[in-house]
Amino acid sequence: MTAYIIRRLLLVIPTLIGISFLVFMLIALSPGGIGAAVRAQAGAQSTSSLGLQEAYLEDRYGLDDPVIVQYLRWLARISPMKFGTPDQIDPTGAVVRAPKTLDLPPLAGLWYAEGAVPGDLAPPDDIEIGETDEEKNLTYRAAANEYARERIAYIGASVEVEQALRSYAIANGMRHALEADNDLKLDVFKREGFDPAFPEYAEIVSAGTLSLEALQRARQSRAHLQAVFDARPYPRATWTILGIPLRLGPVHLATPDFGVSFSTSRPVVDLLAERLPVTLLLNLVAFPIIYVIAVPMGMLAAIRQGTWIDTLGGALVVALWSVPVVWAGVLALVFLASNQNLGLFPVSGLQDPDSSAMTILPFFNGEGVWQRGAVLDVFWHVALPVSCLVYTGFAILAKQTRAAMLDNFNADYVRTAKAKGVASRDIVFRHVFRNSLLPLITIFATLFPAMLSGSVVVESIFSIDGMGKLVLESINQRDRELLLANVLLVGGVNLLGLLIADILYALADPRISYE
């Protein structure tokens, strides 16, 4: 059994890589590509420096590299096993990486500045970063800020070069060297060569010279920052056991990094940590309700097969199942939450705006007035959303239970037990029900991951910020890191759910064994 579980767990890894690769490619190939919505947001602002903003975003998230490179980089970040220079952790807990390298401006050394393209600078070795942690921190912060400023200045300068190349192409009949959205096709430029006679060429040269100067400055500050980084101002991010770092040559173990969401520039993990508890709360209340109501209902329907209980119960759950949640949610809002009607429940949110001032536990205050307290307040708030989540769930479970029980009632062993004189109560609970558990376990395995993915409809109607809305937003915004983390989470839990179901099969049915 243990070997089986370990094998299954190991299989999870390639499956997840496959899933993430597919999703990664889907986003990359979607119109506008990765981060398009982020750029669209920036564009809505209508500014002349749009080109610079775009270049900045591409630089920040590495969007200008080939997709495969981006995917591999992402994999390297989320893998706990890392290669190369270990990252460091600053006092605020943020990961500090080695400074990014600098690319040459477009066509440098080919169209202009031949032979004068400066090479990378070696980091100076006589660097003083200070004695105390505070001094080291200040030194690093200053160096990082300087490099960030020089780098952005250089990116701005190379955007100018691109603009000049574009003007050149447009003025000199090289439209085919531009993509439909005016991006440069550099290989066409390289192939066709330049004509210094055109007046636009001078612009390219002057912009190129300026950008190479900016590059030189950026390289200097990068070398400085690299030296400061190499002097280890902060402790390394490598995992340790009893103070010994888990590191062997270039390979080391460190916390996986799920990256930063494009749309909010917050760590993906923070966003998940914010939303996951909300969805879990809703579902942890909803699922027991579904099971506690639907399973006995199915059992009762099976025992009293063909009677009015069976018919009515069956009709009821199917009727509930067919009511759309969008409609039911709005009805619940208007009739149960609006003061113009019953006004029994709150309209939105998970807690009262003043709940932070409430006590946690309910009590009678000095004047004997009932105070519900923060815990009951949450339950009062989730009443309507949970109702909307559960009512559609009864049908499948109740019908499955009924069908499985009926199958077993007709089995030979039940007849034998009856003939032997076993009490009918024991037949139902100890024999038939236990043997009918398998389909219920299968359903659980599919429902369990759904608990984490949340429900967009219910969350939108009742203004609850759960996982459903987060996933939808991440798709709309093409927020790659966020979406991938969601996919990994839901995919991983799905696979785990299937594994748990398989283990439960073995527990519920001794005939199943994985030896």
Binding site: S46, G51, L52, A94, V260, N339, G349, T359, R478
Partner: protein, 629 residues
């Protein structure tokens, strides 16, 4: 007998779990008491600091009346105020201090106190200033928690002084010297200094490590901020531009002593590090460990340290409800005092006298509302000119659409037919909108060469191409589906074939970059009383992925936009904008559909709500004693 888990075991187990849970909850409750205690001691320590500084001032002695004749008198300006800080030779602007346009303090039922709740339609993703350009940050942070150097007067839209007491603007538009009010201080009692201004612009917004890219773009003309003295600083601009004053005066000034304690990554990842000199503040000064996070309501309390007259309402609360039905239900339940409504809701409630007794439905255009357009591709699409590259065709299209009817049917009659891209008051408001006139439209199409030559019911040009175009709207657009159907009906009446295409936002972006469209529907909103249309219509913005994605060129309009952008004198500029407005009206690079008003529902529990050209001013609202709860 095998030992199995029986009912009694279960009861025991449940009891143990229950007791454990109760212990946990009790611990939690104690924890919360400590948090509250901490906030009280936090406030207490701030107050004792303030008291100590007061004591020191008292010990040093106060000057009750200033010496009359001294060096100051020599420097005194015609206005009788100290202008020794100013650069000689340039007149000093002493703006009116910003305050309520309608002061309610003489009303019989005026009272301080109460909680004002506004319901927003989306959850702000962050409240740390400048880290995201979202309407919520701007409304909560830039107007309530933080203050900028100046503010638009609610009624006249002139700059009124907020943190700034006075300023001097270079007649050539290259520098601005600002004098900060002597009394100005942040909510923790520290004074607002010129160094804070420099920090905000140069070390915060223009710090590439901080994610403030969109604000960098808005303030890119600010080259440097130079500290002259403790309360005086100079803004140096890259070149003269009409919105230099906006770039310098309308951005929140942040406390350096507070923000410099965080690393850029802490700021980027934060959700609610908002602190400033404004009339309201978070109850506990936010820190990375203890800050507002999305999903919670925003509750702000009055800043008791506020350096000007205290605001009237005790607390400002913001809740967030996305769903339209839920938002209105919550509002009707009394969970909110102000909310944004939809045109449908406004029309519905305006005809409900019972509802109107307790609430007010408002609709008015202002400097923050916007306009809806149908954008024409005035240039080439895939190497061939679109039908709309001819101005007569664009004009014909405008005549073909009954915009009054669009207003009536799609906007419940709440909008107003637009004539240009400017907010009310900026352009020439006397321009009459083009009428709905199908015959004139057909005439214009014929002038441009579009006549039904082969008798198949469709218009053709000389080459025999049929007049056909594509109409694009984005998913989620509320009027897109209906408007597109109405447009295609109208077009088919006169023999134009329309195909309709729905795309999502990120797709639209690449379509616009590639100029690969015929017409698309879009809405713009304004952010200030003077809207700069240079990016939208200037021909230099066509190439290089500029924002003139409609590829509109008009040398006369180009010249006007260039002059307007550089003109520092507001009166001269007014005439330029009016001329530009007329030129754009004649040319119709967009079909200017509708000026969209601001729609708001307000509760009559709150008094002194006025509809201003600036929007609404929450600082002058008050809640009478009997309405406070």
């Amino acid at each position: 007998m095998e030992s199995r888990f029986g009912f009694k075991d279960f009861v025991l187990f449940a009891m143990i779990v229950g007791i454990g849970l109760m212990v946990f909850l009790v611990i939690w409750q104690r924890d919360r008491q400590f948090t509250q205690l901490r906030s009280i001691s936090d406030q207490l320590s701030q107050q004792s600091t303030a008291l100590a500084s007061l004591n020191r001032t008292l010990e040093r002695g106060l000057v009750v009346s200033a010496p009359t004749a001294s060096a100051q008198a020599a420097q005194a300006s015609p206005s009788g105020r100290d202008e020794s800080w100013a650069r000689p030779g340039v007149p000093v602007t002493w703006p009116e201090p910003w305050g309520p346009a309608n002061d309610p303090r003489d009303e019989p039922d005026f009272a301080m106190g109460g909680t004002l709740t506004e319901i927003f339609e989306g959850v702000p993703r962050k409240l740390t200033p400048f880290t995201l350009n979202e309407v919520y940050i701007n409304r909560i942070v830039q107007e309530v928690i933080c203050e900028s150097l100046a503010m638009f007067a609610s009624d006249t839209l002139d700059y009124h002084g907020w943190l700034a007491e006075a300023w001097q603007y270079d007649p050539n538009g290259l520098w601005l010297r600002v004098k900060i009010h002597d009394d100005a201080r942040f909510s923790d009692g520290q004074p607002v200094t010129a160094e804070d201004v420099r920090f905000t612009y140069m070390d915060y917004i223009h710090n590439p490590e901080i994610e403030a890219q969109e604000f960098v773009a808005q303030t890119e003309n600010v080259q440097d901020v130079v500290v002259v003295s403790e309360k005086v600083c100079d803004f140096l601009f890259k070149d003269a531009a009409f919105d230099n004053l906006y770039a310098a005066l309308r951005f929140s000034i942040l406390p350096k002593h507070y923000y410099s304690q965080f690393t850029p990554s802490q700021l980027n990842q934060s959700t609610g590090l908002a602190m400033g000199s404004g009339p309201y503040r978070f109850e506990i000064t936010p820190s990375p460990a203890n800050q507002w996070a999305p999903g919670q309501p925003v509750v702000l309390v009055r800043n008791e340290n506020y350096w000007r007259d205290p605001p009237f309402v005790d607390r400002h609360r913001y809740t967030f409800i996305q769903d339209n039905v839920a938002r209105l239900t919550a509002f009707d339940n009394g969970d909110g005092d102000i909310m944004r409504s939809t045109p449908n809701q406004t029309a519905l409630k305006l005809s409900d006298p019972e509802w109107l007794e307790g609430h007010t439905a408002r609709a008015w255009p202002n400097m923050r509302s916007g306009y809806a357009i149908v954008a024409f591709n005035c240039g080439e699409r895939n190497g061939r000119p679109t039908p709309f590259s001819d101005k007569r065709v664009r004009l014909g299209m405008t005549h073909l659409i009954d915009r009054d009817r669009v207003n009536r049917d799609f906007y419940e009659g709440l909008g107003e037919v637009a004539t240009g891209p400017f907010p009310p008051g900026q352009g020439d408001d006397s321009i009459e909108a083009w009428p709905y006139d199908v015959e004139r439209a057909v005439e214009l199409f014929a002038e441009a060469g579009w006549i039904d030559r082969d008798g198949d019911g469709f218009l053709d040009n000389e080459r025999g191409d049929r007049f056909t175009f594509e109409f694009i709207y984005t998913t989620g657009s509320s009027i897109g589906p209906r408007l597109s159907r109405y447009m295609s009906d109208q077009c088919e009446r006169v023999g134009i074939e329309v195909t309709i295409r729905v795309v999502d936002w990120s797709m639209l972006e690449s379509i616009r970059d590639a100029r690969d469209f015929d017409t698309l529907i879009q809405a713009w909103s304004w952010t200030s009383p003077e809207s700069d249309v240079y990016q939208l219509f200037h021909s230099s913005q066509i190439e290089n992925q500029g924002d003139n994605w409609i590829q509109y060129t008009n040398t006369e309009a180009d010249a006007l936009m260039e002059r307007g952008k550089r003109e520092v004198d507001a009166n001269v500029r007014k005439q330029i904008w009016a001329d530009l407005h007329r030129a754009l009206h004649e040319d119709q690079p967009y079909m200017f559909m509708m000026q969209l008003p601001w729609l708001r529902f307000t509760s009559n529990r709150v008094k002194n709500i006025h509809e201003y050209p600036v929007g609404i001013n929450k600082m002058e609202m008050y809640i009478p004693l009997e309405n406070q709860r």
